[in-house]
Amino acid sequence: MAVSRRVVLRFPRSLVDQPIVSKLIRDYNLDFNILKASVSPREEGLLVLELMGQSKDFDKAMAYLTEAGVVTQPLSRDIRRNEQRCTDCGACVVMCPTGAFEVDEVTRKVLFEDTKCIACELCLLTCPPRAMELTF
């Protein structure tokens, strides 16, 4: 079965200089799209990938990553909206590159569709009441 999944990969310092993703793609026959990549000042690496391929290959790839020492988790848990702080103003709507925010035509409330979210974090600091939160 073909799957397409978004995952967050966290690389400890010891792995930052190794060709993990290259091996991942070559050996497990997956297509990938880099949604986000960064290396922190302490040299921990963060990579957000969309991986496409066969379900069994995907599972083997995840097992390989875990064994190599990469911490993995599905992306959907990354960006959350604090519903208490959101005021439904709508400032986020024009900032989001994937259109994850939409204004309901009837209620004018701002809907957040987290399946469209690629965790680019553009909404975090542009939300006036700071309702968008990053969690790992």
Binding site: V93, V94, T107, P128, P129
Partner: protein, 403 residues
């Protein structure tokens, strides 16, 4: 037959007043006709919920033993500096104040995570805040240092006093330059990447009473989740602003100064707010009841988003350099559709003012009045209208000669 506020209050007391919000009144007038609806409807409620920078609060924190004179020294609430140039233990906190050690825009664009508006939100949420002060000491106020937790319920007075709120209409902000800019109207993407606006439109208080026929000093309002009053015209009140044929301003125009006891307000309607690269402020909820004293007053309340226009202003040049140029006009109906068109280009729109929460405020105020909990007040004097010659002037700078 015109009604009076006293007659409407009599109906409110008996629980018989007909109260509708500024959305509902449109349909009612369509169905009944203006004349019959003016007889039937007693009050139209409005609401707005947006960032309003000229907001703040003054507090009397109570005397310490031995006494301290905060005046002339430095005082902070949760590290936010407060103004102490008042009597011994009175201080004023402004919504845009930020900590002395905030990096501001030195690391551009600055984040501005916590400021005066956030302290006000924390206080009305019932949280303890830290009061830290240094003073110079006098014979009658010998103490020089103070560091304590304080709660709003322990203060003698905690009074919200906003010198400019409820702007009657506002600019639509765009950026024609080729780089991102960070403004109080939010982040504006280059080359007309987005258009940000900030008004509750057809629900907004002063857009429903465009000539200030009912609102004045002492008008009782919904303020920050509690009851407040109109204190005065707001700063930059500009009744002479450009108006459409319907009398509704097409630019920023009237404003209100409002006041109320913070102890009965709520963090749902006073929200500390941050604008990336710009600063801190507070989002304020206000609801104004409009007594339907005549057909004319009713007619003004039937205005809809399609009939209210605002000016599109370039915040990369025209705004900062105080140039009068506008790029065009758009109605709130167009803005709420999610895009406007400029020079054949579609520009996505975003609101900074929450329509759902403005509606919630108008509906809350409606319920208060219907239940008989909220009677209307007769203003002592109306705020200045078009004929009174109040204008909004720029600063006339005059060079200072060194002696």
């Amino acid at each position: 037959m015109p009604k009076t506020i006293a007659e409407i209050n009599e109906k409110i007391r008996k629980g018989q007043a007909v109260v509708v919000n500024a959305e509902e009144v449109v349909e009612i007038v369509k169905k009944m006709g203006m004349s019959k609806a003016a007889q039937e409807v007693d009050v139209v409620t409005t609401g707005t919920f947006g960032p309003m920078c000229s907001s703040g609060a003054y507090f009397n924190v109570g005397h310490t033993k031995p006494k301290i004179k905060l005046g002339g020294g430095r005082s902070y609430l949760n590290d936010i500096p407060v103004y102490t140039g008042l009597a011994a233990v009175d201080v004023f906190l402004g919504a845009t104040a930020i900590p002395d050690d905030d990096p501001r825009n030195k690391v551009y664009p600055g984040h501005f995570n916590y400021g005066g508006g956030h302290v006000i939100e924390d206080l009305v949420a019932g949280k303890d805040v830290r009061l830290s002060s240094t003073a110079y000491g006098t014979d009658c106020y010998p103490r020089k240092k103070l560091d304590t937790w304080i709660n709003i319920k322990d203060m003698n007075q905690a009074t919200l006093f906003n010198v400019r709120n409820a702007y009657q209409n506002y600019n639509i902000a765009v950026n024609v330059s080729d780089k991102m800019i960070y403004t109080y109207m939010g982040v504006l993407k280059p080359n007309l990447g987005n258009a940000n606006y900030c008004s509750a439109g057809q629900l907004s208080p002063l857009l429903n009473d465009p000539y200030y026929k009912t609102v004045g000093i002492g008008t009782k309002i919904f303020l920050g989740g509690g009851v407040g009053y109109v204190a005065w015209q707001g700063t930059q009140h500009a009744p002479d602003s450009l108006r459409g044929d319907n009398g509704v301003p097409k630019r920023g125009a009237g404003t209100l100064a409002v006041i109320g006891d913070m102890k009965q307000m709520s963090p749902r309607y006073l929200v500390g707010t941050s604008f990336l690269g710009y600063g801190c402020t507070m989002t304020v909820g206000i609801g104004l009841p409009i007594p339907i004293l005549s057909e004319e007053i009713l007619q003004y309340t039937t205005v809809t988003d399609d009939e209210i226009f605002a000016a599109v202003i370039d915040y990369s040049d025209a705004y900062p350099n105080y140039k009068p140029d506008i790029l065009g006009e758009a109605s709130y109906g167009q803005l709420r559709s999610g895009k406007i068109e400029m020079d054949g280009k579609e520009i996505p729109t975003a609101a900074l003012s929450s329509y759902p929460r403005a509606l919630e405020i108008a509906n809350t105020l409606k319920e208060w009045i219907k239940k008989g909990d909220f009677a209307l007040t007769d203003p002592v004097e109306l705020i200045p209208g078009v004929e009174q010659g109040v204008t909004f002037k720029p600063l006339n700078e005059r060079p200072v000669e060194e002696k």
